[in-house]
Symmetry: C2
């Protein structure tokens, strides 16, 4: 799910302690009250309103457990009753919903070229959002300080009490060590490799920070805000690089070390350009914004006509110039994008045939303008080469929010983590936000 | 996980009723005694010998539940006590093990060119095995009759009482509808598409038959009989075609319709030969035995030197001729295999980068002689292009039993299914085998 190229590190950096540890998830088989509560909260969040009986049915917990957990959640001000369900003969059931303003979460999507910040309420609804230039040439500490300032500004402008913010989901490229909160490759610069991202941002903001892959977060966000009618699908994420994510039965596919679906670095053409990932002709080297922009820059007519900046740290802005020119009818620009889209279509076929999918969503800021063209050509590719077409319709869709789905996913990762159940934080020694 | 090419069916065949329905698995959240029993049986099978305390710890069930379930299993003659664990201060714990001869299972691996049959005891140990020519040009009914005869012969020669055979795991290429027990593509001939495979074989043998993908079964079999030290790995399966399987945390990756990891049909080279899967240059069309044999046949010197049969229904025999010639030092034959192995190495990189794996196993009858050459070149490919190499060693291994791992997996699928717990069959209306 990387969006940038990995290098073999010359000397491994020492492990960086995470100064603000996230409470551990209780192991399976030893369910505790906080974990049960987190699951119940998420069932209510997903349903909007729901009865206790339905909660018991969907969670598999007994009615007695649900009664006790819900009583605690109401006492903590996280859940309240909102009326009764229409009667079907018996006594109408009282409905529960989350107190939306009880708590909040922040999602920060970080890329070399562009970043997005989203604040959601406890129900997962967006209450504020902003976007800004990416990390570019910035040193990690400096970039995180800028991001922290933007988070503070956004919370203030939305009048969200800081004490009610559960934490931040920081989403960026992989491979990552999510436990340590670090990126494992020297992208965009060597200073970023093994830099304590979550620990630093947590210190700056005074709140817990979780790390997540951007493509995975986009999948989570798309499932939340999008109009998907399936619970199994793939995501092709294109920012300054290309990553992927897969959700199966509403669960994120995690693999062995939680760094799966590196669709940007699967080899599609043995005669393609060498990539620092070690492969020739991988998806990113053939279809990524850098490849499109490099080809546009090599065409003097196109370069001058589109006023390309040629700045590698601003490749998405140049890519957007190509996309807008293609949308205006510039045939040279269109051919470049079509070539990229055909390769991305091949990647979509690979994703479908390996993960047994019939739906792939295109997400990420690179699709802001070029999305429809990519969807069109990738759809043709999967109709030609995805095996699932033999059994049922196959579909490539554009994300309902190409720019912010990943940031929304980052906030949801926080809401669904043990952080989303304050009692769990209390037991882990965290300060419980003052609840009404 | 197909090993053959799919076609779009011109007219969909009508659904075929499965005359011998497999008992349904009890849905999650409503555990019943038989399902609990099946899990406990598999924990004992995996451990060899184990105490009740350890069973409770590994299963998550309470000590009381384990006591009750084990009492039932002992009364049914499936489990017995075999002594006591060495004391660590307290009372030595009594150890349990399966009664190996209580029940048996059969695995049948079916391919166009070669088939293998394995009988295992209740503990999953191989008690008899045979191999035979594959389906070739045979009609499905005729082929299944031949296979049924071989199964009967094998059971008789091993003195396995038929009444103690739980059932047959039939493993072959995909895509499949495992519930209906049919193959969804017209391979090897149109007569096979939608033919009631499991229903017919069940009628012939008078025992339940389950359908499973060959590559998936090879993964299950390899994990059982092999020396893998990881619970997350991929399998590249090569018989007359190429398929794949992935196991994550000891669980088979199933995808949306249980037809995942079609690694034979991911596009690796846009200039490669067209495949009926719809893609150009897919793994199977570049690296599969048919491709190797076709290139050998197009070289008159090699064709005559190797006495190639040129029979498409016997492509694995011709492939084996090329492999043996390469092993004897024939450079032309070696170059053909090396070219195939390099493409398979690219497929291994794709598998690792998408499923986040560090281990890929090569299994299937095509590796009987050529295995070491393929392992060598695929290992080089993953060391160059698999992202996991940046974090830990990446390995390509040869299956410990390239010819029979899939058949062993087929038998294990039966043992681990609800069929493996006779009480579950009883409740589904099946005749319970007479147990001592």
């Amino acid at each position: 799910m990387s969006s940038r190229l990995p290098h073999r590190p010359s000397t491994p950096a020492p492990p960086v302690p995470n100064v603000r540890a996230v409470p551990a998830v209780t192991p399976v088989g030893q369910p505790s009250r906080p974990v049960t509560g987190a699951l119940v909260l998420d069932l209510i969040r997903t349903a909007g309103t729901i009865s206790r009986v339905e909660l018991a049915s969907r969670s598999g917990f007994t009615a007695a457990t649900i009664t006790n957990v819900v009583r605690d959640l109401i006492a903590e001000g996280l859940v309240h009753e909102v009326g009764r369900a229409r009667s079907r003969g018996g006594t109408p059931r009282r409905l529960l919903e989350l107190d939306r303003t009880a708590l909040y979460a922040v999602g920060v999507q970080l890329d070399r070229c562009t970043s997005a910040i989203v604040v959601t309420d406890f129900a997962g609804r967006r209450v504020a959002a902003t976007s800004l230039r990416g990390v570019g040439r910035g040193a990690p500490g400096e970039t995180l300080r800028t991001l922290a300032d933007h988070v503070e500004d956004l919370l203030a402008s939305a009048a969200v009490p800081r004490a009610r913010v559960l934490g931040v989901g920081l989403v960026t490229h992989g491979p990552q060590d999510r436990e340590r909160g670090v990126i494992l490759t020297p992208q965009p610069t060597p200073a970023w490799q093994d830099f304590p991202l979550t620990a630093t941002l947590a210190d700056l903001l005074g709140m817990p920070v979780l790390l997540e892959n951007d493509a995975t977060a986009a999948a989570v966000g798309e499932q939340w805000v999008g109009s998907l009618d399936v619970d199994t699908f793939g995501v092709l994420y294109m920012a300054s690089g290309i990553g992927g994510g897969v959700v199966v039965g509403s669960e994120v596919y995690r693999g062995r070390t939680a760094n799966p679906v590196e669709i940007g670095h699967v080899p599609l053409d043995p005669r393609g350009p060498a990539c620092s990932c070690g492969n020739a002709g991988c998806t990113e080297s053939l279809a990524g914004p850098s490849a499109v922009v490099a080809r546009a820059g090599a065409d003097p007519g196109l370069r001058d006509r589109l006023r390309m900046s040629g700045d590698a740290d601003d490749v998405l802005a140049d890519f957007e110039r190509v996309a807008r020119a293609a949308a205006r009818g510039d045939q040279d620009a269109r051919h470049l994008l079509e070539d990229s889209a055909r390769h991305l279509g091949t990647a979509a076929v690979t994703l479908m045939n390996l993960f047994d999918l019939d739906t792939v969503v295109l997400a990420g800021p690179a699709f802001a303008t070029a999305g429809p063209l990519y969807v069109d050509l990738a759809q043709r590719a999967v109709e030609r080469g995805a095996l699932a077409r033999l059994l049922r319709p196959v579909r490539v869709r554009l994300s309902t929010d190409v720019g912010a789905a990943a940031a929304v996913g980052g906030a949801l990762v926080v809401l669904r983590s043990p952080l989303g159940r304050p009692a769990a934080r209390e037991s882990a020694g965290e300060v419980l936000p003052a609840l009404v």
